[in-house]
Subunit: 232 residues, 2 copies
């Protein structure tokens, strides 16, 4: 479907800058609202109040209303939000009307886990290729994908029209693979390698470090313990 | 080692509240500084300038100085930061002087990937148990851990003194497992299940949804394309 950015714009008084740079926390919540809306629509709900939607998303309803107002989406008093319209607005805001063709590089446990992750396809992402360097894995069928030889990375990325690459490889080989991926024009990269990676301007790189998630959890757990010592 | 929170306190004028609630983005960067400091120390560097540290962490040096000032850590002009002292302050701030004993529930591809993740141990986390419900996996050796039967979850969590649980299981079974984990006193839970989970007050739950990461990447990629259309 053609990308119509109209509905994704914030109210005029907010200005386009706000649409350009939504806070990370808001982005995370938007993805939660989108998941909740999908569930509500599958349950046949054409409308949902901010309370119902907030409950389904596991978020405070006042925060939800504030987030959605940034997209110019205001619920109707007594009616709430139209689930289909709102899902479409969030989808457009997140850039998911774009067709994302994802190649996963690295068919180890993590790469295989990602290739089999059910949450991708129904949220605008198609996994089109899975790569590895190991002769034991190349040619094997993993979740319906045949593991491709990373030696042919450039050709397969081009052939599959990949526009998003996910790196599930050891740190030492990550930068070299990033460089190869960028050279064939892929501008969106998600890396699970726990190393700092350099990309040229115009390429968007996002890093997920599983140890970071544990460390942030540890921090919040410590704060909770301080806030209420008897619970620690 | 006993937890000394002294050095983790912010400058007096900032007030303890600031120490209690560091912004998420700052927390993520602190984990990046900690990783960079570990690398620098392994390379024998006793001191590092904010520029060197920022470069190693892949962060802007002005932001780094601002972040570290929140911990009351100020580099000495011409000398920089003492890598060991700074690493210790960040470690204390993140609550990593606490011994985190992690049990991973779910020994599928993701659980196996997590159990083998090298980045945990040297950052204060020991994986002490790995669980699954499948007879094909129970008893198997995975990364030096024998897969335990989830039927005995409570006993093993208690026996291993687990204080952090990681859920790598399908959505439908996640809440039931969270309830069981909480019942034996585990107060820190990291979930990879793409569902909303309820925990009682005093329990810290952090969710990682791999699709969320892709959606946030998609948003930033879209913004980069808008900012410079010729690059899209």
């Amino acid at each position: 479907m053609p990308r119509s950015k109209g509905p994704a714009q914030p109210p005029a008084e907010t200005g386009p800058a706000a649409a350009r740079h939504l806070p990370e926390a808001t982005l995370v919540r938007l993805t939660q609202y989108l998941r909740a809306l999908t569930e509500l629509r599958e349950a046949g709900r054409a409308r949902a109040s901010s309370e119902v939607l907030a409950e389904a998303a596991g978020v405070n309803s006042a925060i939800l209303r504030k987030d959605l107002s940034l997209l110019g989406s205001y619920g109707t008093r007594g009616v709430g939000y139209e689930t289909e319209v709102l899902a479409q607005r969030i989808t457009e805001c997140l850039g998911l009307t774009h067709e994302w063709r994802v190649s996963i590089i690295g068919a180890g446990n993590l790469g295989r886990a990602l290739s089999g992750y059910g949450g991708f396809r129904n949220r605008g992402f198609s996994v089109v290729a899975l790569f590895d360097a190991s002769p034991d894995l190349i040619g094997r069928d993993v979740n319906g994908l045949r593991v491709a030889n990373v030696a042919f990375l450039e050709d397969v990325l081009t052939f599959t029209r990949t526009n998003m690459a996910v790196l599930a490889v050891p740190g030492p080989v990550a930068q070299g693979l990033v460089d190869r991926v960028v050279r064939v024009g892929v501008r969106s990269i998600l890396s699970f390698a726990p190393v700092v990676l350099q990309v040229p301007e115009g390429v968007t790189l996002r890093k997920v470090d599983l140890a970071t998630e544990l460390q942030i959890l540890a921090y919040h757990a410590q704060q909770a313990a301080h806030a209420d010592p008897e619970r620690s």
